[in-house]
Symmetry: C2
Subunit: 412 residues, 2 copies
């Protein structure tokens, strides 16, 4: 893509009320725009990152046998009355229409998927069922102040698995833990992300979190480096021992929850009378688990973990482009070289942002490239043209080097 | 995909309160589920169709130079006060949070994109800008009863173009008309869809609709077959002449509006003071147009136009799968043939739904295949196996014929 056409331009300043690094950098670099606290527009650069994260998650969920669906955000009050959460959930947005009919704006989808299963499931032969969606959720966060880490409106992947017995569920749940690790590794926060034991709420025996260690985190985790697992603050207060190895050698860190998975107790199955007939004709409750990842939050966590004082350092798999091509000289002879390279890279199906602007200084182009944070910066200038070479520098390395076009195409 | 694993099963009956053909067929065939009037879940089959429609639209919008973004559904009341539509728009969902702050649930996004442009545009050099999104919208339809044709919550593509002068806008607008025709042709309703002159509202000189002729339509259009254009009822009442050729030879038809494009007057630019400096340093209002397509509505229209009394007849480009492979015999020798064909088709990257179920009769399988409506039905049975052939039938043709596997792979 030509940077002269990219909308919008980068900004010198982030809004004064943004304190988190992810929001500051993403706004300045033109990835997102803040509409109000906790509510953002994804701009063309940000949308590209979001789609890459979405595709990683989708691939892994389909790999786990998940079938993709799309449930509504607008949900009837009756469903929320059945679980009691119309009254108890503080951060639920409630709507009344012109006929005084009331709706919830979905912060989660148990209230929708359980009654739907009830309509379609009757026998053990209908199980297991694995469904997921990537969908917009709403939560009434009155004090949203962490950029993409905590939103009022946010894209989330929610996956629901339904089983005939606990053994089958537990086996699948363990598989999903590995799949979650792969998602976070692919998104570029694998090293910093810890499987974390946390207490369940009223409807779950316990819950398992995936916590990414970063100064920006609102949570505290206690990491057992021996097991590469963590416990959260509540578990820590109850038992100062690692549930894996029993030792008490913890490292305390701030962290942000990037994923959360639950084995559900019978609460929702009971609320919606979700039963099936087993082989012997006995009626039993369907055994379930659910598995969430916030896409925007993951994007925010990736930025929190991968940036320096100059800007973002995108991991390759989620970068908006693979190469940032900078033209530093407006002479036609040199511009032709850059144009040709741009075409060759496009032909080779390499995503490239080409800074072709003729009214921006070299210094500004370098500064913006660092701010935007594309993994490979390739420079075409008078100096490189004289040697019939290109200058390449990785965003996360200090030193640039000269290579030929052939070497570049082979390298990336 | 194996049909034995496909979630959920087809249904004998649609809900009694569904009167539209699109909703009845899509619900019975397991493409969508009705949560409440005008609000549907897209199930795995329906989600696949939705994604195909989305991809056609995205390809065409990117081809038109559009840059994709994603704007929020939750929008501050202040923005809607500025345009006066907080008071005047009857079908706006209004929300109040626990601190009495008010929000609109976006039925459209002029109130968001115009103030954002105001922040980022200053000079003629910043224009034109082409942005679009594929995003969830909300409208308080109190009497939603047309299935996917009129929803309370619905996916929409909205595209906004911003220009320095009317000439540039008008040239682009004409280009978009051709692109819209291509979208509807690719989605399988090109023949039935007419460019339709309609009066503009308070903020547009006039509006242009794309109307698909179907008995299920809630609109009436008057078609000039000479020009292949239509006028809507309001225009018809004012002038009984074709704006193109001046003749009065009209054919009256029911139709559904699948797309709507507007050249905007200065209303929104004035409300949000969206100006730019031209080459001479003069301040002028940005000239704009907007272009909408409802994805679910288009899916509903495709079904209304393409079905018979047995079920849906998907156009190839938006079908959930290309081939529906039916195994009609549970003998291992014959099942092995079907299994092998399934693998070969997958290797050839042909999307195939394989009805491998061993507890469903041949009659039921045929009936379900007709209901689901995949373009090519391929049968493996004792009869076909005896001749070392396959039976192929197109959903929109009556006659089946025998071909070899090699011929099939070449054919599809």
């Amino acid at each position: 893509m030509l940077q002269s056409k990219l909308f919008p331009k980068t900004q010198k300043q982030a809004p004064r009320d943004e304190i988190s690094a992810n929001a500051q950098l993403l706004i300045r670099a033109g990835f997102i725009d803040k509409l109000m606290a906790g509510v953002y527009t994804f701009l063309p650069l940000g949308f590209r990152v979001l789609k890459k994260i979405e595709n990683i998650i989708r691939e892994e969920m389909v790999g786990a046998g998940g079938q993709e669906i799309l449930m509504p955000a607008l949900q009837p009050k009756e469903n929320w009355d059945k679980t009691g959460r119309w009254e108890t959930m503080n951060d639920l947005y409630r709507i009344k229409d012109a006929r005084d009919k009331e709706f919830a704006l979905g912060p989660t989808h148990e209230e929708i998927i359980f009654p739907f299963l009830k309509k379609t499931i009757s026998s053990y032969k209908d199980l297991p069922v694995y469904v997921f969606q990537i969908q917009n959720k709403f939560r009434m966060e009155l004090r949203a102040k962490s950029g993409l880490l905590r939103g009022r409106e946010f894209l989330m992947k929610d996956f629901y698995s339904f089983h005939a017995n606990e053994n089958d569920r537990d086996r699948y749940y363990d598989l999903m833990i590995d799949i979650y690790k792969r998602v976070f590794a692919r998104a570029g926060v694998g090293k910093e992300t810890y499987f974390t034991f946390a207490p369940g709420g009223t409807f779950s025996k316990y819950s398992d979190e995936f916590q990414t260690v970063t100064e920006a985190g609102e949570d505290v985790v206690h990491i057992c480096d021996k097991c590469r697992k963590a416990i959260n603050n509540e578990i820590f207060r109850e038992q100062r021992k690692c549930p894996q190895c029993g030792k008490s050698d913890f490292r305390k860190e701030k962290a942000i929850e990037v994923g959360n998975i639950f084995k559900l107790k019978n609460k929702f199955a009971e609320d919606f009378d979700l039963k099936f007939k087993d082989k012997d004709g006995h009626e039993k409750f369907v055994i379930t688990a659910c598995y969430g990842i916030g896409l925007g939050r993951l994007m925010g966590a990736v930025v929190e973990v991968n940036h320096d004082d100059k800007g973002i350092i995108w991991p390759e798999a989620v970068a908006p482009f693979r190469i940032h091509l900078l033209l530093l000289n407006n002479e036609l002879r040199i511009k032709n070289k850059a144009d040709e390279l741009y075409k060759d890279l496009q032909k080779a199906k390499i995503e490239v942002l080409y800074d072709d602007r003729d009214d921006v200084s070299a210094g500004e182009k370098f500064a913006e490239a660092d701010l935007i944070g594309i993994p490979y910066r390739v420079v075409v200038s008078e100096k490189t043209a004289a040697q019939n070479k290109l200058e390449i520098k990785k965003r996360n390395e200090a030193k640039a080097r000269l290579i030929t076009k052939k070497e570049l195409l082979k390298y990336v």
